[in-house]
Each structure stands twice: as structure tokens, then as C-alpha cells.
């Protein structure tokens, strides 16, 4: 789950990371009032779940409160990578001496969280990594012991020659690490970490991505979710414990398992069709999930045919069959449905389906070919 910059900064501030003062505004008048209250030059920053906000014109420097009002007027309602800006952060503009990058990410290869720090912050860190890898220090952390003082100091001295600043940076590393672990992050970043001409370090931008698997045990983090920044159909799917991603095609896919769901989409494309979505009903089966899946798929007006591809393992195919029957009795389908189903309790499932007037096949390619044809308005073979 993504959280906004202002939310990440509040978490970091709670762990002691120095963050410039600021508040969130949803109207230009609010932005002006906050700038007035802060009493100094400010930055007005779009709060959306997208990178490249600055390049898109969503981050502006404002000398006066009137200036802040004007810039907020331009930014609020603006589209950044297809997302509408509904909130801006109005925050004290830092006096910038130098900019460093500090990030921590769970690394698949090392199987540990890894710190990445570089004195070449503020710009595209991927470019630094690709062109001048020696400018980045990678430091894996063994989470059983936590970040040790000497490791934090090593990063501090990698960024700053001055011992006072290095110590200050080391303290920020510890605070960032604590926030990362306590919030169940898969990524946390301070970019840039600014050293002011006066010698102070401040986190001018903050980003956190939370591991979805942590949310059950961290209700305070789940509460930070901004539902308005997500597609309504995806929110509905999540509330029903389904993974759903809307695409542009016309074959609505209901599949169990992410790998098979992707392979099914690939096969739809292979046979000349376009998938309307990715939808994974997941492992443990429950007829209710199928009912919800059908509701979400049929809400998409582009869908011309529905394709079920279920390979039962932990999912019992009879549960899926019951779900299809229940859902279509309550809301008769307006588009054709093609069912492919095999695996656990297949015989029971097939009987449920035939008793209720459905046909089902056990072959994946056959089902996909049929669904693609039906979506194009053809007759099933």
C-alpha cells in the first residue's frame, strides 16, 4: 500500500526525524492561510501516489501567502499520471546546502532490508546507480539484530566528512530504520536529505510503501489508506478479498492464482483477444468470493464475455460452481460465460453446473478460444 508524503513525514517525525513544518490543504484559501501561519517562503506539493510530481508541475516554491494561494489553485485538480490532485502539502521551504539520498528497501537477492545512501541525492537515484555505482553505499541489515551503531556511523561518514553531521545522519538512519520496521514497510525513502548552510540536516521529502501483508496487524497504518486515490472497482475487489486490476479489453477473466491468471491473460491475447482485467480469487475458496467477482466484472460495460479458469487445489471447484449458480440466479448475466474448471472436487462441480444449465470444459486452450470468439460476437462452436 502506498501512503502520501505528508503521512510518511508524520510517521518519520514521530520517530524523531527532523521534518520541516507543514500542513495539508484541500483548498487554495487553506494553502494561503497555512503559508501565512508558517510565516516564511513555502513549498506547495501535490499529494498523489505517483513519482515525478516535480517534473509534472506539482511542486512549486512560493515566496508569499498570495503566491501559495495562486500555485495551490493551479495544482489542486491537476492530473499527474492519471491521478487527480485533491490535497497539497504546504511546508517550509528548506535552505538547501547539499542534498543526499537515503533509502531502505527489502531486497529479494540479499533477503534483507538494504540501506542505500548517496551524497548525490535530489536527482534521479536510478541514474546514479546505473552510471556511478561507486557513489552509492549498499548496507544490508540483519533484522534479528537491527541496525548497529557502527553501521549507522559508516553511512553517516559515507555522506559527510564532518563528524557532527555524520553523527546526526547516523541518528536519522536509526530513526528511519525504526520507522521502517514499526510500520511494516517494504520501502522507505528520504530524498533529499538536506544539509542546510547552517549545518542542520532535514528530511525534505519522505516516501513509504507498506507491505500489504502487514496491514492486518497494523490497523493504524491501514487507517492511512486514501481510498479516493484508487480505482473504485479495485477498492471493491479488495474489500471482497480479491485481487483485481482493470485493463482495456473485453474478455472478463476470473481465475484462481496469480500465475494462472497471468497465463490466462497471455493466452487470451495469443488467440487474438484482449483481457478486460486481471482477477485472482485467491487460494481458500468461498462461494461468496465468486459472487463478488462476478459483480465486479459485470460492472465493466466493456466486458463482452466472461471467462472462468479455475484449477482447484486449495480452491474447491464445487465452491466456485455454487458461487456461479448463486450469483447468476440473483443477477442473470447479460453476456455469455465460458467456464473451464478442473481439480479438487471437479465431479461435484460439473454436476452442479450441468444441473443448472451451464456447460463447462476441462481444457484451458479450448475455453480461451471460445471466450475470445464470443467476445467478438461470434457463435460458440
Amino acid at each position: 500500500m502506498n501512503i502520501h508524503e505528508y503521512q510518511a513525514k508524520e510517521i518519520l517525525r514521530g520517530f524523531g526525524v527532523p521534518i520541516p513544518n507543514g500542513k495539508i490543504a484541500t483548498t487554495p484559501a487553506d494553502a494561503e492561510a497555512i503559508a501565512k501561519e508558517l510565516g516564511v517562503a513555502v513549498m506547495v506539493k501535490a499529494q498523489v501516489h505517483a513519482g515525478g510530481r516535480g517534473k509534472a508541475g506539482g511542486v512549486k516554491f512560493c515566496k508569499t501567502p498570495a503566491d501559495a494561494k495562486e500555485k495551490a489553485t493551479a495544482i489542486l485538480g491537476m492530473q499527474i499520471k492519471g491521478l487527480t490532485v485533491e490535497k497539497v502539502l504546504v511546508t517550509v521551504a528548506a535552505d538547501i546546502g547539499s542534498e543526499a539520498y537515503v533509502g531502505i528497501i527489502v531486497d529479494r537477492q540479499r533477503k534483507k532490508p538494504v540501506f542505500m545512501v548517496s551524497a548525490a541525492g535530489g536527482i534521479d537515484i536510478e541514474q546514479v546507480a546505473a552510471q556511478t555505482p561507486e557513489k552509492i553505499l549498499y548496507l544490508p541489515v540483519d533484522t534479528r539484530y537491527g541496525l548497529r551503531s557502527y553501521e549507522a556511523m559508516r553511512m553517516g561518514f559515507f555522506l559527510y566528512d564532518d563528524v557532527k553531521r555524520a553523527r546526526q545522519a547516523a541518528k536519522i538512519m536509526q530513526q528511519l530504520y525504526a520507522a521502517f520496521m514499526a510500520s511494516g514497510c517494504s520501502l522507505a525513502e528520504i530524498n533529499p536529505l538536506v544539509a542546510t548552510p547552517a549545518g542542520e540536516l532535514i528530511a525534505v521529502d519522505g516516501k513509504m510503501v507498506i507491505d500489504d501483508n502487514e496491514l492486518d496487524r497494523r490497523p493504524e497504518i491501514e487507517a492511512l489508506r486514501d481510498v479516493s486515490s484508487e480505482a473504485p472497482s479495485e477498492v471493491d475487489a479488495r474489500n471482497s478479498n480479491l485481487t483485481f486490476i482493470k485493463l482495456e479489453g473485453d474478455v472478463g477473466c476470473v481465475v484462481n492464482g496469480a500465475g494462472l491468471a497471468m497465463a490466462t491473460m497471455d493466452l487470451v491475447k495469443y488467440y487474438g483477444g484482449e483481457p478486460a482485467n486481471f482477477l485472482d480469487i485467491g487460494g481458500s475458496s468461498n462461494p461468496e468470493k465468486v459472487v463478488n467477482a462476478l459483480r465486479i466484472i459485470t460492472a465493466d460495460a466493456n466486458v463482452k464475455c466472461i471467462l472462468f479458469n479455475i484449477f482447484g487445489g486449495i480452491t474447491r471447484t464445487d465452491d466456485v460452481a455454487n458461487g456461479i449458480v448463486t450469483a447468476t440466479k440473483a443477477n442473470p448475466l447479460k453476456v455469455p460465460i465460458v467456464i473451464r474448471l478442473t481439480g479438487t472436487n471437479e465431479e461435484i462441480a460439473m454436476k452442479i453446473l450441468t444441473d443448472n444449465g451451464f456447460t463447462a470444459s476441462a481444457d484451458m486452450d479450448e475455453a480461451v478460444i471460445k471466450a475470445v470468439k464470443l467476445a467478438k460476437g461470434g457463435q460458440a462452436a
Binding site: S186, A258, M262, Y270, I314, T344, D365
Partner: protein, 290 residues
């Protein structure tokens, strides 16, 4: 004859009385797996299905029955502890089926398991099956037949799909392993490829990968330098939009690393046969076996 599990596997089921645990324990027993014990705290002394003794802890179960392998069906927040408990009790092979285990929990579990020399499969995986000998996990037994193809996959149901098609074509399997799609898992492609290379009965390997990460590219490199047996590979997610999460925490395209095209290129460069559709495995493997 197989890798990781065989006729001598003695299994303890953690979470044996839960909905999924009890259902799949019955399936494993029906398949012929030697399930010697179950664990559910508070139900020690009872019996599962009037046959399998239940213990309060894995230590008790191992002490009483000598179980050498554990399978875990406990809720995600308890899975990390369950894995460490099984390893600490002396199980050499631990298979964690549970989906939704926080990745930071796995950063603690992984070194714990490695340092004790045990093997972990998963989490968030379907387990494994050595047809005709034993199954540990949730792979449907009836889609497999004994034979000489090794199968390894990051996905669950996609594994079933490919195995089902192999079986229908008469291509039996030595062992089918689902390694799971989480960012940190106990066993990776290379571990399985290495084991298949060393298993005298395995003559060819089918490998199913996904978009995201670089595991498949590293596996391709291993095949190129360390394997004499033929390998056929498939990558799911060729049509997935970039940058979107497709359900598995691991299936994230980041930067240039991890696209289907990149992985397929790596396969080709390593001499791995590329299946465009799941059904293509059949002809490609038949050709490699002749």
C-alpha cells in the same frame, strides 16, 4: 527417484485441525503420504480422524514420532514462528503453505533456517509432490503420474495446469515443486534445478516463472553453466501492464529488470526451450527426451 520428499518422508502437520489443514491432511493421507503427527496447541492428546495423534508443540510431535518433515497451514501472522518451531524441533524439510506472511518476518526466518541447515519451501506455495511416493501440501494428486520430468514453478495453479497437460500426454514426473511467489522464500529455482541435475531419475526439467525480480535470469545462468539435462521454460505475465502488482508480492516490474521479454531472452541465451503457451511444454519436452 525424486527430490526433497519420497517414500521415507514422515510428516507432521502444523495447523492440522484448521479448515485447510484438515482438508488437505485427508488428501495427503489418501495419496499415501505417511502423516505421523499433527500439531494444534491445546489439542494435544486428541486424534485427527481417529488416526493421527495431535500434539501441543512440534517438539512433542517430533520426540514421539520422529517426523522428519513439516507442513504448515497456520494463519499468516503465526507462520514465521511456526517455521522456526519446526526447524528448532529438528525437521530437516519445512513446507509453508500459508499465504500473506509479512516479508519482514521472513527476513528473520530465512537466516534462522539457513544457519540450522534445514530446507524451507515457501511460504505462499502449493508444496510439492513426488508422484507415487508422497505429497506434502496442496497439489492435487490425481493430476500427477510417476515419470522422469522434474517440474519447478513460482506459481501454484499454473503448476497444476502444466503438470496436468504433461500427465495427459503421458509425461510423468519425478517431483513437482512450487517454490512460491513471495519476495523472500526458502527455496529458489536454482536449489531445485541443482537437485534435479543430481537426481538420476530426472531426465528433463519444466520451469515456470513469472514477471518481476531476477530469479529466472539467475536460474537461466545456472542452467547454462551447471546443467547437462534439458530444461524448458515459460514466463507468465507477457501481457501484464508494467508497474502493476499482479497479486504476488514478487510479481512487480521494477525498472528494466523483470519483464517477460527480458526473462525469455535469458532463457534463450541459456539454451532453455521456451514454451509460449502452457500446452507447448508437452511437445518441447518430448523433443528434448528423444
Amino acid at each position: 527417484m525424486s527430490i526433497f520428499i519420497n517414500k521415507d518422508t514422515t510428516l507432521v502437520v502444523q495447523g492440522i485441525t484448521g479448515r485447510d489443514g484438515s482438508f488437505h491432511t485427508k488428501q495427503m493421507i489418501e495419496y499415501g503420504t505417511n502423516v505421523v503427527a499433527g500439531v494444534t496447541p491445546g489439542k494435544g492428546g486428541q486424534k485427527f480422524d481417529d488416526a493421527v495423534p495431535i500434539f501441543n508443540t512440534v517438539h512433542d510431535a517430533v520426540a514421539a514420532t520422529g517426523a522428519n518433515t513439516s507442513v504448515i497451514y497456520v494463519p499468516p501472522m503465526f507462520a514465521a514462528d511456526a517455521i522456526m518451531e519446526a526447524v528448532d524441533a529438528g525437521c530437516a524439510m519445512v513446507v509453508c503453505i500459508t499465504e500473506g506472511v509479512p516479508v519482514l518476518d521472513m527476513t528473520r526466518v530465512y537466516p534462522f533456517v539457513k544457519e540450522r541447515g534445514a530446507r524451507l519451501l515457501g511460504p505462499n506455495c502449493p508444496g510439492l509432490i513426488s508422484p507415487g511416493q508422497a505429497k506434502v501440501g496442496i497439489i492435487p494428486g490425481r493430476i500427477c503420474i510417476p515419470g522422469n520430468v522434474g517440474v519447478v514453478s513460482r506459481s501454484g495453479t499454473l503448476t497444476y495446469e502444466v503438470v496436468y497437460q504433461l500427465t495427459r500426454a503421458g509425461l510423468g514426473q519425478t517431483t513437482c515443486v512450487g517454490i512460491g511467489g513471495d519476495p523472500i522464500n526458502g527455496t529458489n529455482f536454482i536449489d531445485c534445478l541443482d537437485a534435479f541435475e543430481k537426481d538420476p531419475h530426472t531426465k528433463a526439467v519444466a520451469m515456470m516463472g513469472e514477471i518481476g525480480g531476477t530469479d529466472e535470469q539467475e536460474a537461466a545462468d545456472f542452467v547454462k553453466h551447471h546443467m547437462t539435462k534439458p530444461v524448458v521454460g515459460f514466463i507468465a505475465g507477457q501481457t501484464a501492464p508494467p508497474g502493476r502488482r499482479m497479486g504476488h508480492a514478487g510479481a512487480i516490474i521494477s525498472g528494466s529488470a523483470g519483464t517477460a521479454a527480458e526473462k525469455i531472452e535469458a532463457f534463450k541465451a541459456a539454451g532453455i526451450g521456451v514454451a509460449v503457451r502452457p500446452m507447448d511444454f508437452v511437445e518441447l519436452i518430448k523433443a528434448k527426451l528423444h
